[in-house]
Symmetry: C2
């Protein structure tokens, strides 16, 4: 019950153990097409260019930046936690010109500051922000932020690693141009794959580039020869066959449950966990209306040893919760209710274990 990987259902683990077949086998490429369709459902998008990058979420992030940011492009980067900072690193390494909008860790991105940043930088090409900050549990108003970007003629690039499948991610309704996620959070699959989606506007920007994409592996022009499914499929890299079996199964399970039901389950479990945590005297880092249901950050009580407590949870209760990152290291715990971990059993067990180690 940390900030991911979440519990992986046996059904998904068993899918990963199916015999490995070739990455150009028709049975496998059929599954690729199904995976793309299922991912479009998860992202709530009609974007043709929707597929899982063969790497962890950080590779999905970098795939978005190296393709969309050309040297000299001005990019507004919103930072309200670790992953906004990582976006900034990506912009710099692509030769982009970052304009940083900062908000306190634990708070949502302030739309007014983004509006002001656009006013001061009308030549901005891209707005980049994190929808669900895994380092704090804060959720930003993606629809409002994307609307500002669109008004100013910029593309929107969104991190939804922790939100996809757990809380609404509405790529088309919000007008998001590029987004990346991870397999190991609310999709409840094993870590190692990064679903991404790109709008037609985003693809146009990639096609109009004057400079080559600096990464060979992440160059969408090349990756698409394998994933597009149009005409002859050409070899780009050997796809991670078995992890893709797992992701496919995870997405089938999401479709079976119904994504609205999955969102509701995360919400209900969060309400129960919240009530229990508050009874234990723990207070939330993020204000209630900016809180992610699937990632519950609470302040450590003053007299509690962070590492010792988490070590006891792990060794005595076989339970992992997350530590704080960056400026919040040693100050908070992050309790994940992601995917299959968002269950009655987990909520009850976690509250019991926490009560025990806190001596309540």
């Amino acid at each position: 019950m940390g900030p991911g990987p979440s519990d992986v259902p046996r059904r998904i683990l068993d899918a990963m153990a199916r015999p490995t077949i070739g990455h150009l086998d028709p049975a496998f490429t059929d599954m690729m097409e199904q995976t793309k369709t299922l991912l479009r459902y998860a992202f709530q998008t009609g974007n043709k260019l929707t597929f899982p990058v063969s790497g962890p979420g950080s590779v999905g992030m970098e795939t978005c930046f190296v393709n969309l940011v050309e040297p000299g492009d001005k990019v507004i980067v919103c930072i309200n936690g670790v992953f906004g900072g990582r976006m900034l690193e990506n912009v710099k390494r692509c030769g982009g010109v970052p304009v940083v909008v900062e908000d306190a860790w634990g708070r949502a991105v302030d739309a007014a500051k983004v509006e002001a940043a656009f006013a001061a930088n009308p030549d901005t090409k891209i707005l980049a922000f994190v929808h669900a900050e895994t380092s704090t549990g804060a959720q930003s108003d993606a629809a409002a932020l994307a609307a500002i970007a669109r008004k100013h003629g910029a593309l929107t690039l969104m991190d939804c690693v922790t939100s996809l499948g757990g809380t609404p991610v509405l790529i088309d309704a919000w007008g998001i141009d590029a987004a990346y996620s991870g397999s190991q959070k609310c999709l409840s699959c094993t870590p190692g794959l990064s679903p991404v989606t790109f709008s037609e506007r985003a693809i146009e920007k990639v096609r109009a580039r004057k400079t080559p994409v600096q990464s060979w592996f992440m160059d969408l022009n090349l990756v698409l020869g394998y994933w597009s499914g149009e005409g002859k499929r050409t070899y780009h890299h050997t796809a991670p066959i078995n992890p893709l079996y797992g992701l496919h199964e995870a997405l089938v399970m999401l479709a079976e449950e119904g994504i609205e039901n999955a969102w509701a389950r995360h919400r209900t479990m969060h309400e129960q966990l919240k009530t229990g945590l508050e009874k234990l005297g723990l207070s939330f880092v993020v204000p209630e209306d900016e809180r992610l249901p699937q990632l519950n950050s609470v302040y450590l009580p003053a007299d509690v040893d962070d590492a010792a407590c988490r070590a006891r949870l792990l060794s005595e209760f076989n339970l992992e919760i997350g530590a704080g990152l960056g400026v919040l290291a040693g100050k908070i715990w992050r309790i994940g209710l992601m995917g299959a971990s968002a269950s009655q059993k987990n909520v009850d067990y976690c509250l019991k274990a926490l009560a025990a180690v806190l001596g309540k």
Copy 2:
């Protein structure tokens, strides 16, 4: 029996289906340390910096290039097949200055040409070549090439995707400074991980860089915070837990067999396959003394329909063999004897199936 992925033993598939635990769980980080030790055995090296990159072989390749090549660095790139060409792409995208040494597809890299390229370019910083060309089945004399590079004060960067575990890869004895491989060839694991190793000389070059590494994900300075195991392990990205269970198991199996025995098995199975293929009237693309035992490239008989034949092998015999790539597309077949696929059963079955589809 294509050019990878190879057959994955049930034991490795079952390992991948073990419950997912956290990437900072002590049980997991213990396994990471074991994996590094086992990989040093596979690479026959004492290099401290030896670990699996969280991505397919192409990410391992790019990790080597983006870290070692600085803008303006002269790099001699040997091209005798598809993967040498991919190295060239990498050098260009890192801002390196490539000096290309070309050899015919299906032949080893000519050491005399490399010597001449160094003579004409004494300021060369890196020699890059493919030890085992997966597109042709040709093996180059890595020891001789690395010796030339060392004589001229350059680092050696080697692709051993298809050789590791199947034919000798002697990183220390040959004096290789950076090498990358893949999990899905002679290690018989599922695709998606790329073992890499770096000498102290290579690390010094990375440390002495004047420009930042262009990739955030592949920046060794950052990745090491997680994989080095020195002091506190810091989060970089979420490691692909379950695929790493699989790689660990594959490496344990290699150690159980003994790497010299694994090399001998690949050699023996190749000899048997070769005899059978020649009996069927098929001739090898690569001259005998430059041939890889684990990748057998043969010319298609003149009157045979490539795609139809491979489709029949797949549908009637459940057998995959590889098509030609690049200039050899439609002209050759590539039959892999990699890892667990290098078995008596597979050799016999493949020869029987080929005889049937060729009407022999």
